[in-house]
Amino acid sequence: MKLVMAIIKPFKLDEVREALTALGVQGLTVTEARGFGRQKGHTEIYRGAEYAVNFVPKIKLEIAVSNDLVERVVDTILKTAATGRIGDGKIFVFDMMQAVRIRTGDRNEEAL
């Protein structure tokens, strides 16, 4: 089992979700996040005072998947979240020790 974490542009969220659902992904978690990478922040000006905003708004996705689905999930996110411009985000894949569905107590693959 793997945990896929993806940082994407906020307006790409619906497109990514649709593509992942079509792939058979049963659920995912979305967090509104802020951060910086190679895409620098922006400058805001209020009554002449300039403020550098270093952290850009992003969406963080967390998707727990079985091993056989991982590559297709990563490819799908790669295709649908990309605009080709700086700031498209990143994908991280982790080994996952255990998964438990709280309602039933199902473990691991059954819980995904």
């Binding site: 000006i45 209020y46 009554r47 002449g48 005072a49 550098a52």
Partner: protein, 437 residues
């Protein structure tokens, strides 16, 4: 005369009804004018709306979210505080016979203000209405000051400062300019709706507060961005609408000068909003929402002393001048001098008020006032500009000195500033025990 008859004929059914329903005192007051009274009741409500919720939202949107409640609380608490103080002593000090500097005690606790009472300054409306109308001006003036020390004054210190300032600064200045026998008004200073009394007065007190309290921790390195400019724009819009009560209401009559004051107000405000927007666009590259809203307020401020004295062409020029100059005052001047006037009470209200007061001396005209002698420079009476400078100078000097003394006394007793912890964690939680999630 024909106009009078027509006007009365038009409202005859209403008047008849009113006569049947109203107290005898009303029917006995032959000098009262129902049209004037109706307009002044309306104006009073409009001007109250300028402070709550207008100014409260205008300022509230400009601070960080952790200080929004404390900022709105300032406007609301000042509204309540000034109402009671005005009833007790403020109105009497400002608008009754006394000497050239301050009024008397004849309306202490509004003594003698019965249903038949009339103030000689407003002979066609009940004194109760005039007292309330002037009360709304007394409310907004100290509330404006709060913009200069946003994010850092103790609430207890604010309550004391606003109370003392109202009685020791606002009431005397209002008396000197507008009151019966007032020294400045008597010597020819023109201030239709409060360029000196309200705006220069509040703006200069604001600068003194900003200097005495000192900068916010981290200013100007730490950003203090507005948390919700939508609130600010709603506030600015309510100020704009309410200002018709402020300026056109200062005719204290529903007449031709009220109409001209309304026209001048609308034109100057729009011109100033555009002027600020274009100046910012040129200098900073983008026309900001906060900019156009600030420009509108600057225009409203500058046309305040002039409305009721100037033609629409004069109002247009006043608006353009206010928009451009207040933009530079609130951006370049503030940064160059380094004071932390958080929400630009000085840059908008004092600078706008000074521009307006000076240009009133230039553009005031007998064509609007109906005077037989020349009024402003445009009529050939250049000396009016000198008279205006005198009014501005007296207001600034008196206001700055007394405000300084009040602040010094509060600083030595209660203390003016919140602790550094409260400043960092937010005044909402620290002072009021509440937060906006």
């Amino acid at each position: 005369m024909i106009r009078m008859i027509l006007r009365h004929a038009a409202i005859a059914p209403l008047a008849l009804l009113a006569a049947c329903l109203s107290a005898p005192a009303w029917a006995d007051g032959p000098t009262l004018d129902k049209g004037d009274t109706a307009w002044m009741l309306t104006s009073t409500a409009l001007v109250l709306m300028m402070t709550i919720p207008g100014l409260a939202l205008f300022y509230g949107g400009m601070v960080r979210k952790m200080n929004v409640l404390a900022t709105i609380m300032q406007s609301f608490a000042v509204t309540c505080l000034v109402t009671v103080l005005w009833m007790i002593i403020g109105y009497s000090f400002a608008f009754t016979e006394g000497n050239g500097f301050i009024g008397g005690l004849s309306r202490f606790f509004l003594a003698g203000m019965g249903t038949t009472a009339v103030n000689s300054l407003a002979p066609t409306i009940p004194e109760s209405v005039y007292m309330c109308f002037q009360m709304t001006f007394a409310i907004i003036t100290p509330a404006l000051i709060a913009g200069s020390f946003a994010d850092r004054m103790k609430f207890s210190a604010l309550v004391w400062f606003m109370s003392l300032w109202l009685v020791l600064v606002y009431a005397p200045i209002a008396h000197m300019v507008w009151g019966p026998g007032g020294w400045l008004g008597g010597s020819g200073v023109l201030d239709y709706a409060g360029g000196t009394v309200v705006h220069i007065n509040a703006g200069v007190a604001g600068l003194v507060c900003a200097l005495v309290l000192g900068k916010r921790h981290g200013y100007p390195k730490v950003p203090f961005p507005p948390h919700n400019l939508v609130l600010t724009v709603i506030g600015a819009s309510l100020l704009w609408v309410g200002w018709f009560g402020f300026n056109a209401g200062s005719a204290v009559a529903a007449d031709v000068r009220a109409g001209m004051a309304m026209a001048a107000t609308q034109i100057a405000t729009a011109a100033a909003a555009l002027a600020w927007m274009f100046a910012e666009w040129l200098v900073k590259g983008k026309p900001s929402v906060l900019g156009i809203a600030s420009g509108a307020v600057a225009g409203l401020v500058a046309v305040t002393p002039a409305s009721g004295f100037v033609l629409p062409s004069g109002a247009l020029i006043i608006g353009i001048a206010a928009g451009v100059l207040c933009f530079f005052a609130s951006t370049s001047l503030k940064n160059a001098l380094g004071y932390d006037d958080s929400l630009d009470a000085f840059g908008v209200h004092a600078i706008g008020g000074i521009i307006g007061a000076l240009l009133t001396g230039v553009f005031a005209t007998m064509a609007v006032t109906g005077a037989t002698d020349p009024v402003g420079w445009i009529d050939g009476h250049a000396g009016q500009v000198i008279t205006q400078i005198k009014g501005i100078a007296v207001t600034i000097i008196y206001d700055a000195i007394v405000s300084l003394v009040i602040l010094w006394v509060i600083d030595k007793t209660l203390g003016l500033r919140v602790s550094e912890d409260i400043e960092r964690e937010g005044l909402d939680l620290g002072l009021h025990g509440e937060v906006v999630p």
